[in-house]
Amino acid sequence: MSTTAPARTVNQSQIMSRRDLDFLLFEWLGTEELFGRPRFADHDRSTVESVLELAESIATTRFAPHNRAADLAEPRFDGTRVELLPEVGDALRAFAEAGFPAAPLDQGVGGLQLPSSVFGACMAWFHAANTGTTGYALLTAANANLLSVHGTPDQVDRYVRPMLEGRFFGTMALSEPHAGSNLADLTTRAEPQDDGTYRLFGRKMWISAGDHELGENIVHLVLARTPGAPAGTRGVSLFLVPKHLVEPDGSIGERNDVVLAGINHKMGFRGTVNTAPVFGDGAFTPGGRPGAVGYLVGEENRGLRVMFTMMNEARIGVGLCATALGYTGYLKSLAYARERLQGRPAGVGPEEPQVPLVEHADVRRMLLAQKSYAEGALALNLYCSRLVDDAASLDDEGARREAGTLLGVLTPIAKSWPSQWCLAANDLAIQVLGGAGYTRDFDVEQHYRDNRLNAIHEGTHGIQAQDLLGRKVMLDGGAGLGLLLDRVRATAQRASATQDDEAAAHAAALLAAADRLVEVTGALGALGDPRLVLADATAYLEAAGHLVVAWLWLEQWLAAHGKEGAFYDGKRAATRYFFARELPKVGPMLDLLASGDRTTLDLDPAWL
């Protein structure tokens, strides 16, 4: 029997939506304004369009095709070498040859000063196509980014430039077996040597891309303690530890004393090898003796501070990864729902043909929910990247600082909200496909597994919540939160001014939620007991996150206002969905916080 599938109206990529990226960048964020600022003066709309096209084309032809293969053929470790699929290297070479690694960096270090918001839009393509392979590029970019700001000119020449050329790769080696969320207790030792270098000894854990043969060298950025350093985070320093030492002329020298104890076998994100490296165990003896040769980055005991200057961008990067996985899952389940015939509307007899899944309201609910999460999260991530651009390029110093403060308060949300809700989107994508969604014949189950990582690494969901409530909201007497709510209120005002009844209702709901957040924040501040305040920090993070995304949906509604066509109708429908079914979740969370509920705080572990 052969059945006829309904004709597709649009043939759009199932990786990402270029249409939506264009809408967000050009119809909403006003990306063209950036080209008038000196930092971005070399760029214009046509270069940005070419760059987006380039990202789409490399992501589609080099990254997407081996996404499943890299999931099935996990990286292998034979005791000395890590083996990856050759396609991973091919894809990363194409990525580097095109010039992506250097794109957002300063011209001074060989970069192209592409706006972060545009770079984010490009990276969304790569994450959605194959986040496991993209992981190597992302870590290398974060590493190069950090060294380009905090490294010495020699470190930049010897390590950053080869990373930008795709010859070297990078890692971020923070976690240890007993020190994950709490880096204050890490124990890796760094002993100063007479020549100004250090020797490192210790074990790290969970280090992504910790060993492989993709390039000529691997540059580890390692947190460690020097002898006599103060206890806690104030005694942590940052070191550059290459897998192979690099001679002054840039050639590859001796093998350094860094090896793997093993690799971890993960639920998802399998394309990125996850490792347990050992430093200074004597497996190699550079200069004739054991100890991993390391070079200090920045000053001693300021390692975490240096690491954290790059944290905003790294965390937005993780959020963007979660968003991209949610987005591609949405597009794939949508395409499936348009084609798969199943059932008939109530009251239609069996003599009539079956209808596509998308005709059922409950399936549309699952699709619209995904749309509101994925497109809302993408708006959130690109808005934050735009703040990175503003903080680097606005004329006025006060305005730059304002962008930085706002970015600080939004960062935990930009990391956590997509990790939570775009995972929920992947869950719905599986549901839309039914039994097929639960099989490995379709991509959606892999997206779910891959995405599950994002609420764990780069600071867990709970740690982001503490960062938001315990630090960012309380910082400078709540300056960040104040700035955020000013912008929320300004949007509500613009929405009311449209004279559109629906927009006015959204604006009123948003303002009420914002007022309640202020009230509850004040009440929490007055509690005095930090343990009680932080006990339900995740409720605060999630409430604030939903409020922020509702705000950004209203922003999108405004950007679509007065425009016709299915694309804009879709934006309006998703806004309606978010305000009707998601924003109301904020109230109960804030009520819980206001109640000062002590259930979890007073719970005796023995009762569990």
């Binding site: 270069t47 070419s50 010039g99």
Partner: protein
Amino acid sequence: MNIVVCVKYVPDATGDRKFESDNTVDREGVDGLLSELDEYAVEQSLQLKEKLGSDGGDSEVTVLTIGPAGAVDAIRKALQMGADKGVHVQDDAIAGSDAFATSLVLAEAVKKLPHDLVVCGMASTDGGMGVVPAMLSERLGLPGATLGSSIELDGQTLKIRRDGDTATVTVEATLPAVLSVTDQSGEARYPSFKGIMAAKKKPVETWSLADLGVDAGQVGLEASYTAVEETQARPPRTAGEIVKDEDGSGAKALVDFLVSKKFV
């Protein structure tokens, strides 16, 4: 050495393609791009230039296209890949031209450019006729080495391999010559960020028919020998037939299917 590479701006095959009421392809209403098959021609041109290096004097790759205003995007893409300059022949009178008329305009444009080698793709991805390179060589009075799957240049001698259904032949031509390359000639490179930035500063000239000395009456729908009489939308995709094999009967079912369709 001067290389002129002829490229076409075609409707994006992944989008919905439409026809005008006169059965010509709607080139304004849909997104267009550099024809994929012409990317191979650009790639081979760039590789020849790179191989010649500085020995070949200052080699230059000029991208030539005929098309509506948007066709400059095809030139831009080739410039981003590394070509040096562009020529865009744009004239409303050209719309609807068939291969004869197109080759006439191309030939006149090539004559105005210094050229040792004219490189084309094997066919356009929209028209798909694949005859323009041969017509172009005829009109220019130059040897035509068409459908090359591997290309070598030795001094003034161009040598290509042409893979046919029954035999592989080697074709040699002395420069100046016209060359067309197939999709087997080597994967086309992606543009790079540097290429994208550099392309903004590369010169693109726009020529009209008058600039070429071509009379409008010689081109366009009216002057064309061939015309599309009728078009039909592709029938909707069907779900196909799935042969399940649970009891070992799958092979027979497959064979029966192939027989019923007269494949075996």
